[in-house]
Amino acid sequence: MLLPDRMTKILIVGSKTRIKETIDILYSLEVLQPIDFSSEEEGFTLGSPLPVASQASQRLLKLRSAEKELEVVGKKLSDKILLSKIEEDVDDVLLTLEAEITGAVESKSGIQNRMHELETMKLALEPFTALDVSIDLYKGYESLTVLTGNVREDPSSALSAALHRYEAFVSPNGKFVAVFVMKDEAAEAQRVLLQSGFAEVPAPTGKGDPQAAMKAIEGEMEALASSLTEAIEKISVLREKHEAFILASEEHLSIVVEKAEFPLRIGSTAHSFLIDAWVPQKSLSQVQQALQTQLGDEIHVEVLEEAPRKEHIHPEEAGAGVSEAHVVETPPTKASVKRPVNMFSYLTELISTPKYGEVDPTIVIAIIFPLFFGLMVGDVGYGVPFILLGFLGLRKCHSDEWRTISTMLFFGGIWATTFGLFLFGEAFGMHFGPVWIVEPGQTLAQLKAQYPFGTELSWSSMTGMQLPTLGVLSKLHDVKMLLYISLWIGLVHLFLGFSIGVYNETIRHGFKHAFFHKVGWMMILVGGAFLLLFIIDLLNLNKPVGLDDFRALTGLGLIIPGVLISLKGEGPQAILELPTLLSNVISYTRLAAIGMSKAGMALAFNMLAIEMIAPVGGVAIIAAILVFMVGHLMIFILAVVAAGIHGIRLHYVEQFQKFFVGGGLKFNPLKVVRKYTTER
């Protein structure tokens, strides 16, 4: 349960005539992860794809191009399509598609190209419509130069002063000119124009009145626009018609190609093939049975070895019979955790996949993270919405991220509600029962008589009813106690981390290694816990304690040997790590601090809304309700972020460092996922 599933390495050898059936069986079993063949073994070469691969690839290529041209996007289909139908129809459909699509797509792109051309022509012609000059008059002179372009200011007067034989046309707004000038004065004309900020615009080709030409272009564009809509319509009709079939056959053919190319991953000789693979031990008999019953004597399955949990086998330990190859290959990690624990496995994967020989920390996260979350929120008013939101998310969301967040909210919400009811006894930052704060010079009995519903804001004082006082602690009044409790939670959490560390190290490297690397630290931690008890008495309660105190002696008695053991195991850096351990423990005070900060904010909003705004009456009551709602919504959202991130961080940073190595390979068996197709 704690360690990943045991893996066994098997070897499957068979005749090449049955390779297709073998591949189909292996894919349908979904429990076998092949080890890619390295072509180093003597007498074997890499396999070659099955004959069906090339035909399927060609079809796939055509399908994908059709898919692209029709802009088909993957989506949910109402009905799955039968494989037999795909096999039967795919060639016909491809032919039809090719004929229909080519026509439609070509006419669409033809129209688009022409529209683009017209757009360019229109842009070029645009300025000339302001002048009353026929287009064909701009070109074809031997003795004249024509200068056309934009200017900043009307150059007419400057031109008439500088030139003798010319004619100029200026647009009504004075920003565009066409100057017809004799060639010998062209240079002078250009100089004058440049002074007016002349920027040349080449004259358009064509003939006739520019405005008429413009109209013709616009008319053609309009006609094209409507035929473009038609073409797009036609393509979308085609898409509607073939979408389901294209998606389904693309899926099917991809699977066919993947299976047909599988031999590229395995070794083969002229007449036989061999597959090295990892299989979970518990599925071993299933694999053997399936292959034996369906292929009989034509296939041979040999169990090579059970993957060892131990790493780095030392030569003297390994002894005879264990070759280098056994040490090098890493078995894949197949998590053994079941629902609901595996709903948290995304959080482990975020850091790394556990190694084959170490405890899957998902179970720790699954149990403790919701507890931390609940402790930090600790409020019925937020806990219940968390549960509802989480439940809704689990029903509606499909992506891993959102499902994980929903899981966190759901289980965290359950604990938040539990702690809110029985530990803190509050909803929306207010206690249920009456609260009295005793000021100097007053007694509790006096206050109780004078204020039956308490001196502080609570659900009792707000509703004017005697509600039962649930919960034993107050986030804002028992701060010291909460800080103290959170330190102890930290000590226990870290102790758990070290315990798993000892277990992991023992499994992977033997107990001796575990003793020097983890047990020493465990002793330091436990010693620190004893010292904490002692220090609290010394500092806080001002009790007379001496150094001969039993707790101090036990603490030091554990810490000193612990440091020595760690020194031997890890060298001088163990000393440097000591303060880290201390800061790790103090880091857990955030459990109390975050709860407190949220309670503080809630108190502020409650006082603002209930004690300051609402008593004004009238419209102010609506304003008070608004302030209350917006304020608590803000705290609610902050609670998700703060409690979520800090809860998971205490695992990632503080606890995981004590035992988690990671870097395993995730078990990735051969299997096919069919979304659009079905075999029956």
């Binding site: 994967e349 975020l350 850091i351 790394s352 701060v479 010291k480 800080l483 800061s583 103090i586 880091s587 005070t589 955030r590 601090a593 407190m596 991130i645 961080r649 990632y652 940073v653």
Partner: protein
Amino acid sequence: MVDIGSGLIAIGAGVAVGLAGLGSGMAEATIGAAGVGAIAEDPKMFGKSITMVVIPETIVIFGLVMAILLWIKM
């Protein structure tokens, strides 16, 4: 009326949490920027990045604890 001693304690508490927060922020800014860079190259780095980014956060918790202890003394 609050006496001067309490006022000084309150200022001390504020300074403790404020400076610690500033320190954490400065440290996290650099790590966060590097982390985002790493995630852009390989989304799998997200888990490691977030672990790195939140490490300095402990500092502000220390500040907060100090502030709380001071506040209790008020």
